[in-house]
């Protein structure tokens, strides 16, 4: 395979079209937000385009940093939970026969392909105070009053894990699939026990998949809006909710933009760092994705 060096003039028209599309619909809108974050909210919600850093000043106020920290913390917790639950699932799929594997993947994705809001609704009808779970428990006489599962932090975790699990399983599964299981056999033949094999042989090789999967899950979680609202009882907010409130309720579009920029910048830096790290590790032949 010839090694190609990418120069701008080498780009075929199809590449240009795609690039233009990305710039117009993804970069440009973001730049608008960025620009707006330096503007001022004039009387009653309109924007006056005078340059100011006041919005960022406000954004770095302790309160909003706490909200950001809370968002990161909860997303991290949910991601880790997804890992703990998702890894065995991915492992099972990787070990299964090809037919079972396809079946398993299909099963995994069907819930994902039903409507998001319906899934939320479904969770409420099972785990709510008068949902199936509590109804059953109370009917069986195990307890008098319902167990509070939803409208708590746990409810948020529940919703997040439920929604994002498939996204985590697939990259881990991909990595596991590529892993040569005879290595495991070899290790055990050489005297390593199960746990050692797991931590020293299996895990390091699937680290990539885990990392990718975690990223694909952690970042969208940070922007979650509906789940903390409905399943968390709106008692704890994610940064996304505060952001949207600025646009709709407070009509302070510049400040909202500042919050959005802060969040995005942070995420983008994290992603970019991750990719550079990966590329450097894997060498010049990697696409940067796997």
């Amino acid at each position: 395979m010839k090694k190609l060096v990418l120069r701008l003039r080498d780009w075929p028209p199809s590449a240009w079209i795609f690039f233009a599309w990305l710039v117009t619909l993804s970069v440009l809108p973001f730049l608008i937000i960025l620009a707006m974050s330096f503007a001022v909210r004039s009387e009653s919600g309109l924007i006056s385009w005078t340059f100011t850093l006041a919005n960022y000043e406000r954004a770095f106020h302790l309160v909003y940093l706490k909200v950001l920290a809370k968002t990161i913390f909860l997303s991290l917790g949910a991601t880790i939970t997804c890992l703990l639950v998702g890894f065995p699932v991915a492992y099972y799929l990787a070990r299964a026969t090809p037919e079972k594997r396809q079946m398993g993947l299909m099963l995994l994705f069907i819930p994902f392909w039903t409507n998001f809001i319906l899934r939320i609704y479904g969770i409420v009808s099972i785990f709510g105070n008068h949902g199936l779970l509590n109804q059953t428990i109370m009917r069986l006489g195990l307890t008098d009053s319902p167990i509070e599962i939803l409208y708590t932090r746990f409810g948020i975790y529940l919703g997040l894990v439920y929604n994002y699990l498939p996204f985590l399983v697939v990259p881990i599964f991909s990595a596991l699939e590529k892993f040569d299981l005879s290595l495991r056999e070899a290790a055990m033949d050489l005297g390593a026990n199960r746990w050692q094999t797991f931590t020293r042989v299996l895990l390091p090789n699937v680290r990539e998949g885990i990392a990718i999967g975690s990223l694909f899950v952690f970042i969208p979680m940070m922007g979650e809006y509906v789940i903390p609202d409905i399943l968390g009882g709106a008692k704890e907010v994610f940064l996304g909710r505060v952001m949207v409130e600025q646009f709709f309720t407070m009509q302070d579009w510049p400040f909202g933009s500042a919050l959005a920029s802060v969040l995005s910048m942070g995420l983008m830096i994290a992603v970019w760092v991750r990719m550079r790290f990966e590329q450097r590790k894997a060498g010049p032949t990697s696409h940067g994705l796997r």
Binding site: W11, S14, T114, Y121, Q135, S174, M222, Y225
Partner: protein, 281 residues
């Protein structure tokens, strides 16, 4: 992100290994427990569609709600809107994403990380920010909010999904195919339409279906970009949910769950039969 992995001979455990190292109980239990967890809410929604009183599992069986849904008209317009938007945005996304994969594909090994990051941007950025930024974008350029804006919004990030699927698909394509055709006298146009395109159809279909699903399912982005008078199905469901008791909603869930399941099974069986055809011939 491959949609469905085809098997890699190296990683399929040889028959003997399957016997030597069986899946332990823990793994199997976790798998099925997780599946149970994922399906329980949906299964219950389906059951609720047939309950006389959806809030009470002990109440009787009835088909009233399903009938009411089929005769009522409040959910059909949102459904139609969602379908049209889904089809339109999926098609556009597939087209653009494929173009991107075809364009950048040969260079995929040397793409600078910033460019890859750019392509991944629409996927990674949280939906709230995408939705808000597109709303501002449309506002600034005085686009009237409606079907067009929602379609564009959905396609904007679906295209990147398609891109990655198609890159994967192109990678599997035998690079000599194009050259062989060229040597045999085909022109670039013919090469594309008659040699390359048919071989990437599975990726196209997967990409299209993924984009359609994302669009059909989408809530947040539609919420921001739909403007006046355009209700998509998820938005309608959301507003119904907030009012509370709506047995038709449960009936609708039943319909939609059947639809999704059916869709996935069709896709799965297509994939299956294709493999059988290939392995058999």
């Amino acid at each position: 992100m491959a949609f469905a992995k085809t098997t890699n001979p190296r990683s399929t455990p040889p028959e003997s290994a399957a016997v030597v190292l069986p899946n332990n109980i823990f793994i199997t239990t976790m798998f099925w427990a997780t599946m149970g967890f994922l399906y329980l809410p949906l299964a219950y929604l389906v059951v609720q569609a047939f309950l006389t009183d959806p809030g009470n599992i002990a109440s009787g069986f009835t088909t009233d709600w399903v009938v009411a849904l089929l005769h009522g008209d409040s959910l059909w317009e949102p459904l139609m809107n969602s379908l049209i938007i889904g089809v339109a945005s999926a098609t556009i996304a597939t087209f653009i994403g494929t173009l991107g994969a075809v364009g950048f594909g040969p260079f995929s090994t040397v793409l600078p990380p910033s460019l890859t990051a750019l392509i991944m941007l629409p996927i990674l950025i949280p939906e709230v920010i995408t939705g808000l930024s597109l709303l501002l974008f449309f506002l600034l350029f005085r686009f009237e909010l409606g079907v067009t804006t929602v379609v564009l919004a959905h396609a904007s990030f679906s295209a990147s999904f398609v891109y990655f699927i198609m890159i994967e698909q192109l990678r599997k394509l035998d690079p000599n195919l194009g050259e062989a055709a060229y040597d045999l006298g085909a022109e670039p146009g013919q090469i594309f339409w008659k040699v390359i395109l048919p071989n990437i159809v599975p990726g196209l279909i997967a990409g299209w279906l993924l984009s359609f699903t994302i669009s059909f399912d989408d809530f947040l982005i539609s919420f921001f970009t739909s403007g006046a008078g355009l209700i998509t199905l998820p938005l309608k469901i959301y507003s119904l949910m907030r009012i509370g008791f709506s047995p038709e909603l449960n009936a609708m869930s039943l319909v939609m769950i059947c639809l999704s399941t059916g869709l996935v099974m069709v896709l799965w069986s297509k994939e299956q039969s294709r493999k059988w055809v290939i392995s058999g011939s």
